[in-house]
């Protein structure tokens, strides 16, 4: 029973993570544009989160592993995810406020369409280059999504540590956890891209993922209590 709950957690946490990543693209694109920079930044944020989470989660797991602690991690991750829609717009606005458009100088002074200044070479095209948004995009992504992905990155090593005594073959056991997690990621990606975004929209999608994670957290705590009563 304990084992089934933990394996289900691994699977669903993977699904929620990727679902959140897909939602993050939809959340950021209206403010930062449809650009490979946006996708690259957000994917990196999630991968950095997973790496840090795996490292920290492994260490945490060695300090007295307990199911309720993993449950607490998931519940916090869920609560953060749940609340992203509340402050997402404010964060995006703060990181890249309404300035920095490469506008011709004469517009800035007059506000509305003053006539253009005479140009020496009249057939030379006046082109205004865009601001560099690489680091702001990465920053906004990190503020919004680093914490939940760090917390979700903890799940795999922690689950492996919890199940270590039920693994006669360590390679097989860890491989199983890793495969389950990735299978969850695939489900989260395809499910979100194919169906969920058109069923519930970006913000409700984040709320739904948060609720799933909080639910998993509660399930793990209950499982812990049940196991203790038995043992």
């Amino acid at each position: 029973m304990t084992r089934a709950i933990i394996l289900a957690t691994v699977f669903l946490a993977g699904a929620a993570l990727m679902s959140m990543e897909m939602a993050s693209f939809r959340l950021v694109q209206p403010e930062f544009g449809s650009d490979i920079i946006v996708w690259g930044s957000l994917i990196s944020v999630f991968l950095v989160g997973l790496a840090l989470g795996a490292y920290g989660g492994g260490r945490l797991a060695d300090l007295g592993p307990a199911m309720w602690k993993l449950g607490a991690v998931l519940a916090v991750a869920g609560a953060v995810t749940l609340s992203i829609p509340l402050y997402a717009d404010a964060v995006l606005e703060w990181v890249y406020p309404g300035q920095g458009a490469p506008l011709p100088t004469e517009w800035k002074e007059s506000g509305t369409g003053a006539s253009a200044a005479p140009v020496a070479d009249s057939t030379k095209l006046s082109v205004y280059e865009p601001p560099d948004l690489r680091w702001p995009t990465l920053g906004a992504g990190a503020i919004l999504f680093a914490l939940p992905s760090i917390l979700l990155g903890m799940v795999c090593p922690y689950a492996a540590r919890l199940l270590i005594h039920e693994m006669p073959h360590l390679g097989q056991g860890v491989g199983q956890i890793s495969a389950l997690s990735t299978a969850g990621c695939i489900l989260g990606t395809l499910g979100t891209a194919f169906y969920l975004v058109s069923w519930m929209g970006t913000r409700w999608l984040l709320v739904a993922n948060g609720l799933v994670l909080v639910g998993l957290g509660i399930l793990l705590v209950l499982g812990h209590m049940a196991a203790r009563r038995k043992g």
Partner: protein
């Protein structure tokens, strides 16, 4: 011995035949089209292809999905694609337009036309891809004038950050074959509206291969934001130009044609604008459809594009 000779002969003729076929094939292709430019940019695969038989040069953003822009080599300022002519119908509503914004440069057909026919109009162009701007200068004879400004930026980011207002906004931002979702939503339409002068209007190119649910959702989104909406179905290319106006009252086709004739006075557009209006004019303001407007939170553009509207399905079921 004879067997060997026969074999050599057979293989030899086969090789010659193949080479011949290949040569014919390549020659045939060469007269059909000449690739002038083919490079990956940050956003697209940009291809410039000449079709010498037709005397045209076309811009493609992918190998298979349609023509972004077309130029008659002997008359580079002529509006070649029919949809670009329908876009110009928007100018008939506002013969006095002074400030025009174009989102999505394409092959620069519309800005070149405006530069030549309306030299006093100030035209700003927002284009996301700097390579498209370069290609337009190198291959499509797009030159600067004191009244022309190009801003390299995402269309929506530009609207959010620019204080400038326009009489006419032309939307033609396509990534290969679809509008990016953040340029379809009610929030975006509101930004567009905020950048229009009183009485101003927006003309948006909706290019859909089949009439699908996205198309109706997009009409609804504009319909809710603007007092008047019109459609100009542009032939069988699948382009439909949506015109949304801040004018309180609708403009009848006869009145619009009268304005078009006034615009045409002393100008040679290379096509008959009044005739185009007569054929394409549709008032959409009071039409209804069942789709929900698109929002930033809920814009399932890709899903809707694959679905036919309900009443079309019912229509198809009828014997």
């Amino acid at each position: 011995m004879t067997r060997l000779k026969l074999a050599v002969l057979a293989v030899g003729s086969a090789v010659i035949g193949l080479v011949g076929l290949l040569a014919i094939g390549m020659a045939g292709q060469a007269t059909e089209s000449v690739v002038k430019y083919d490079r990956e940019s940050r956003y697209y695969r940009i291809r410039v292809v000449d079709y010498p038989d037709e005397g045209r040069r076309c811009l493609h953003f992918s190998k298979t999905r349609g023509i972004q822009s077309s130029m008659v080599l002997e008359d580079p300022v002529k509006l070649d694609l029919r949809y670009s002519r329908s876009m110009i119908a928007a100018l008939a509503y506002l013969p006095e337009a002074k400030d025009v914004l174009l989102v999505g440069l394409g092959g620069a057909a519309v800005p070149k036309f405006i530069q030549k026919q309306f030299p006093d109009v100030r035209i700003d162009i927002v284009e996301i891809d700097p390579d498209v701007v370069k290609v337009c200068q190198d291959f499509f004879e797009f030159k600067g004038t004191p009244n022309t400004h190009v801003i390299v930026m995402d269309g929506r980011m530009y609207f959010k950050r620019s204080p400038k207002k326009y009489d006419l906004i032309l939307l033609d931002a396509y990534a290969a074959d679809h509008i990016p979702f953040h340029l379809t939503t009610a929030e975006f339409v509101q930004l567009v509206k905020d950048h229009l002068n009183p009485g101003g209007l927006v003309a948006s190119n909706l290019w859909e291969h089949a009439v699908n649910r996205f198309y109706y959702a997009e009409l609804k989104t504009y319909q809710l934001a603007f007092p008047q909406t019109y459609l100009f179905p542009s032939g069988d290319s699948g382009n439909i130009i949506l015109v949304a106006s801040l004018e309180k009252d609708p403009i009848a086709p006869a009145e619009l044609q009268r304005r078009a004739k006034a615009v045409l006075k002393g100008r040679d557009f290379g096509f008959d604008l009044a005739d185009l209006i007569e054929k394409e004019y549709r008032l959409y303001t009071t039409q209804t459809n069942n789709e929900k407007p698109l929002t930033d939170d809920m814009a399932p553009v890709d899903t809707l594009r694959r679905e036919n509207p309900k009443f079309f399905e019912e229509e198809a079921k009828r014997p």
